[in-house]
Symmetry: C2
Subunit: 307 residues, 2 copies
C-alpha cells in the first residue's frame, strides 16, 4: 500500500496501473474510518484490481457553524484500517492540494437538494458534488463506492455521474450498523455514553415506520407522526427532519407508493446524526388515505413536510 | 473519417484509439463551420493522433429569446470541411442523446460570468460549462481546442478544467478574420450586405483602442468613449457592451495594467456579434489617470461598466 499527498503522484501511480489493464476502484472518504468504510473498501477490493481510498475532510461541504474543525481525524488508525481492508493507494491530500486557490467553478444539483439534509445544510451538496467531481477527475476510477447511510449524497452523486456523463459506475453499499442498530458514522465518536444510548432512537423510529408499512399503512403523515412521537420521548434527542420521499427525486410523498425513502436527521445532544430506510411498495388495491394529522416537532420548527 | 451519433459508439471508437496510445484531440463546435473552426481542427490535427469534432447546437446555452431554432445548420457542408481539415471522428448527437432527461446537475462558474456576455445572457455559460463537461467525459480527450473569439467561454472553460481537475489541456487558438477584419462567426451568415459592411465596426473600434493604448492611453473610460463613439456612428449597429477587464478574472479595470482584455458585443440589425482583443501592458512610470467621463450607449441602457 502506498500513500500519496499530491494529485500528480496519484495520477501517475493510478495511470501506470490503468495502462496495464487494471480496473480502478475509488472509495472517497473523510477519514476516521469505521466498519462502514471498511465494507466499502472490501467491496471495491472484490470488484477491482487497484483500490484507491481518498481521505480528505472537505471544508467546502461544511457550513460556517458546522463541525469542520472538530471533525475527528486519525490518519495512523485510518492507514491500518485501509491496509487491512485491501487498499492499494491512499490519497491523502492537504486542503491546499485540492483547493490551491479559491474555486470559481462548482457542480451542483438543482432539484435533489431542496429537501432533507440539503434544506438544512445550504451549500453542503454543492461542496460534495464539486469535490467528488474533482476526485473523479484525479483518480478516473472505473467504479466508485458510496454508503447508503448518506442517501441524499448517494442520490446526488448518482445523478451527477449520469448527467455529466462520467464513465464511472457508482456502487452503493448497505449501511453497516452497531449491534443495537445505530448506523456507523464517524460522528458517533462525539457521543457521550448517555447520548450513545439515546442515538438508537433513529433506527427505532425507522423500524416503527417499517412495522406500520408492513401492516398496510400508506399515509406519510401517520408514519411521520409515530416516528416523531418516538423521538419526542427521547430527552436527549432533537428532531431536525423526517422526510418521506420518492427515492429517485427525493420529493415529498403524501401516499407511500413505488420506491419510497424514509430519512431523518436527529440531533443527539450537539451531534447531528442521520439514517434512512428504503421501501418498495407495490400498488395495493386497498387505499390507505388518512386525514393529514398535525403534529409539531420538538426542539425544531421545521421537519417533515408532510406533518 | 467516421460519423457517430451515440455516446456509446463514440466512447468505443475513441477508446480503441486511446488504448493503442494515440493522443486524442477534441474540437467542440455547434457546427456551421467556418475558417475559424477549421483552424482549430488543423491545430488539433497537428498536435494529436486522433481528432474528434463534436457538432451539437446546445439548447441549454441559448436564452428563451435567442436564436436556437434559427441557428444555421448544414451537416453535409460541415462534414466536408471536417474531412478536409483532418478530422477522424465527427460526434453528431441528437438533443435526446445528450439530454435524455431533464438535467438535475449543472456546472457553473461563479465569478467569471457576472460581466461581459454573462451579464447579458443569463444561464448561457452554465449551459456552456455543463455541455463541455459532458463532452469532456464522453470523449476524454488529451487536449481540447477553443477559439479566442469566444474569450469569456475560453476563460470559463479554462477555469473549469483547472477547478475540477480535468486531465485535459485547453488550447486556445487565435481568432480567424475576414479580409476586412471581421471575426469569423457562424452568425455572420445572418447579415445582409449592408449589415455585413457595418459589422466591421467591431474590429474598427478595437483597432482604435489599440492605437490609443499604443499612444500611452491607460484610462479605460477614455478608450471606452472612443470605441462607443465609433459604434454610435454606425446606424445599423447597437452596442450591447464594451468591457475593459483584467484578462484572468474578467473584472472591470479603471486603469489598464497587466493582462488586459477589451471585449464588446454589438447588434448589427438583429444579429449579435462579439469580438475582443488582448493587451499586455507593462507598468509605466508615467500615470495616465483621467477623470471618468460619462457617455451614454446607443440603443442600449447598459454597456461598459466604466463609462
Amino acid at each position: 500500500m502506498v500513500v500519496t499527498n499530491t494529485i500528480t503522484e496519484t495520477r501517475y501511480i493510478v495511470g501506470v496501473n490503468r495502462k496495464t489493464g487494471k480496473r480502478i476502484g475509488l472509495v472517497p472518504t473523510m477519514g476516521y474510518l469505521h466498519r462502514g468504510h471498511c465494507s466499502l473498501i472490501r467491496r471495491a477490493r472484490k470488484e477491482n484490481d487497484f483500490v484507491v481510498v481518498s481521505i480528505f475532510v472537505n471544508p467546502t461541504q461544511f457550513g460556517l457553524n458546522e463541525d469542520f474543525s472538530a471533525y475527528p481525524r486519525d490518519f495512523e488508525r485510518d492507514k491500518n484500517l485501509c491496509f487491512e481492508a485491501g487498499t492499494d493507494l491512499i490519497f491523502y491530500p492537504s486542503i491546499n492540494e485540492i483547493y490551491p486557490k479559491e474555486l470559481s467553478t462548482y457542480v451542483y444539483s438543482e432539484k435533489l437538494t431542496n429537501t432533507m439534509c440539503g434544506a438544512f445544510r445550504p451549500g453542503h451538496f454543492r461542496g460534495v458534488a464539486t469535490v467528488v467531481c474533482k476526485l473523479f477527475n484525479i483518480v478516473q476510477p472505473d467504479s466508485a463506492y458510496f454508503g447508503e447511510k448518506d442517501v441524499q449524497q448517494l442520490t446526488v452523486i448518482n445523478r451527477m455521474t449520469e448527467d455529466l456523463n462520467f464513465p464511472i459506475k457508482i456502487v452503493s453499499v448497505s449501511t453497516v450498523r452497531e449491534k443495537d442498530g445505530l448506523a456507523m458514522s464517524s460522528r458517533n465518536s462525539y457521543l457521550s455514553d448517555n447520548e450513545r444510548k439515546s442515538a438508537v432512537v433513529l433506527i427505532k423510529s425507522l423500524m416503527a415506520a417499517k412495522d406500520l408499512i408492513k401492516k398496510g399503512e400508506r399515509n406519510a403523515a401517520v408514519i411521520c407522526k409515530v416516528m416523531n412521537e418516538l423521538i419526542a420521548k427521547e430527552t436527549l434527542a432533537g428532531l431536525e427532519y423526517i422526510a418521506i420521499v420518492d427515492k429517485k427525486e427525493l420529493q415529498p410523498l403524501q401516499l407511500l407508493t413505488g420506491d419510497v425513502l424514509i430519512a431523518l436527521a436527529v440531533k443527539i445532544g450537539k451531534t447531528r446524526l442521520i439514517d434512512n430506510m428504503s421501501f418498495k411498495i407495490e400498488k395495493s388495491k386497498r387505499k390507505f388515505i388518512h386525514e393529514a394529522i398535525n403534529v409539531s416537532g420538538k426542539n425544531t420548527s421545521s421537519y417533515c413536510d408532510r406533518c
